[in-house]
Amino acid sequence: MRKQRGKITDLVFLAITAITAFSVIAISIGIFIVLFKESLPAINKFGFAGFIFSNEWDPVKELFGAAPALIGTLITSFFSLLLAVPIALGIAIFITEIAPSFLKGIIGTAIELLAAIPSIIYGMWGLFTLAPIMSQDIEPFLQSTIGKLPLIGKLFEGTPLGVDLFTASIILSIMIIPFTASIARDSFNLTPSVLKESAYAIGATKWEVVKDVVLPYSKLGVLGGVGLSLGRALGETMAVAFVLGNLNQIPTSLFDAAATVTVKLANEFTEADKDIYLSSLYYLALLLFIMSFTILAIAKLFLLKAKRQ
């Protein structure tokens, strides 16, 4: 009798845990279906190519296109990765190969705290502290040096206002450093010490060991970390919302104000008074969801493969 009851309770517990575990699948699929359903009117009206290649964003004429927001998202993400990845790798190398053991923990924790600071704090700090420094000192300095070069100089044209792609990318790059750094650190640590020691034994310097043994051995893990950071950068909202200006135009210089998908959503979602307006915003959200989900999934695959190695 008692055993019977134990069995029933066990089944009930099993059922409850199974349902909660499957809720993750339900939520993921649910998000996709709901976003798709909400964006259907916009999909029907503008199509796919007609939406992503159009510059128009006119609530009065009810014409909507995603090009400026998508380009803004891609530029900020790309530029922040370009800045963050080398630095994050440097930090990981410093922690695993150079730092004395008492510093390892401290620096590792400090870098991870960068990830704990909420994005709204980054945004506020960016608006009130970093943007003025950018517009008064750093951006004019860049204009008078790199800005004078042919071709690249074009990227640094315009009035340096501080509220632009450049500031937003710098802030984003600081925010995503910890994601690449901590995964790169873990992958570096997985390099068998026999491999490293054999390189030292034939007279390699420390840097040569890092460059020719550790980095090639852990490249899958590092790529996974970079993908994860890219996924984060694509979806970052509040930090960028403060310093990008939400200007619907295709930027020609890094010192232009712009918009990203997330900034558009954050600023306009509650103002969307017409169905097609809201539906277009959902269409943007759907595109963002698909982009970040795909990139995160690829990154996760790399990490799983690296783990199995």
Partner: protein, 279 residues
């Protein structure tokens, strides 16, 4: 000669790595000091005890936002933690042999990093739109959903660290599986699970994007979760983007409180886990 050159190259490269670490630490200290410097002048009893004054007028505080934020976070925790812990239990215990469990844990890893604003848009469509108005409940559900994958993954990891022999010992005494889990496995993994919960709470406390179009905002004091309710993060966004000096100061005060809370919670979580799993 060549050897000397290689040694110099090595030293330079390693020095650059050292500089990158300084770069990271520099921004961390810069941000924390800046938030402290601006925030500390805005901290006074009024900030916690009074509701907002009309725009542009001096005085007033953010009592409504502090209480609203607390309510939303508490209810989000009540949604996210049970679902996350139980789901993680399935993955590490009953379902550990099935492929679907691996799929769920991979999916959860992806969902941890999915943009929070997407969750906000999702909740807007399934809760706010049908009800016709913003509500505290919608905000709590949004944050709860963000918590689930984090808590689920830590629970799964922590439970898998408990050695199988321990479970087998309990099985040998004739205990059914659920009793083994609750009385043996959970007890062994309690610190780890608690850490996961603390870190998840720390993460959602700083979220603003999913609250923008779920809980929205409210300039008045309210305990009614079925109505729009103020939160610190949304208030920071509104005040910092607003035109008044008063607002900016209060936004810095709120930013300081949130930063201090989150950094303390994160560090506590890390220390807890370090003490429990020294290796």
């Amino acid at each position: 000669m060549i050897l000397k050159k290689r040694k110099i190259v090595s030293s330079i490269a390693l020095f650059i790595c050292f500089l990158t670490a300084c770069w990271g630490i520099f921004w961390l200290t810069f941000i924390i000091i800046d938030v402290l410097r601006h925030g500390i002048t805005a901290i006074n009893p009024e900030l916690f005890l009074k509701d907002p004054a009309p725009p542009g007028e001096a005085g007033g505080g953010l009592r409504n936002a502090f209480i609203g934020h607390l309510l939303i976070t508490v209810f989000a925790t009540l949604i996210g933690v049970p679902v996350g812990v139980l789901g993680g239990t399935f993955l590490a215990e009953y379902g550990r042999k099935y492929n679907i469990s691996k799929v769920i844990s991979t999916l959860a890893d992806i969902m941890v990093s999915v943009p929070a604003i997407i969750i906000g848009a999702f909740i807007y469509a399934i809760i706010v739109k049908p009800l016709g108005h913003f509500s505290g409940w919608a905000g709590a559900v949004a944050l709860g959903i963000i918590m689930i994958p984090t808590v689920l993954r830590t629970t799964e990891n922590m439970l898998s660290l408990i050695p199988w022999t321990l479970r087998e010992a309990a099985f040998a005494l004739g205990a059914p599986y659920y009793k083994v889990i609750i009385q043996v496995v959970y007890r062994g993994a309690a610190t780890g699970i608690l850490t996961g919960i603390i870190l998840a709470i720390a993460r959602v406390t700083g979220e603003a994007a999913p609250l923008l179009f779920t809980a929205f905002n409210n300039n008045y004091f309210s305990l009614d979760m079925s109505q729009p309710i103020a939160s610190l993060t949304v208030t920071i966004f509104q005040y910092a983007m607003g035109p008044y000096e008063e607002w900016h100061a209060q936004a810095w005060g709120a930013a300081l409180m949130i930063t201090v809370f989150i950094l303390l919670a994160t560090i506590t979580g890390r220390l807890l886990i370090k003490r429990r799993y020294k290796d």
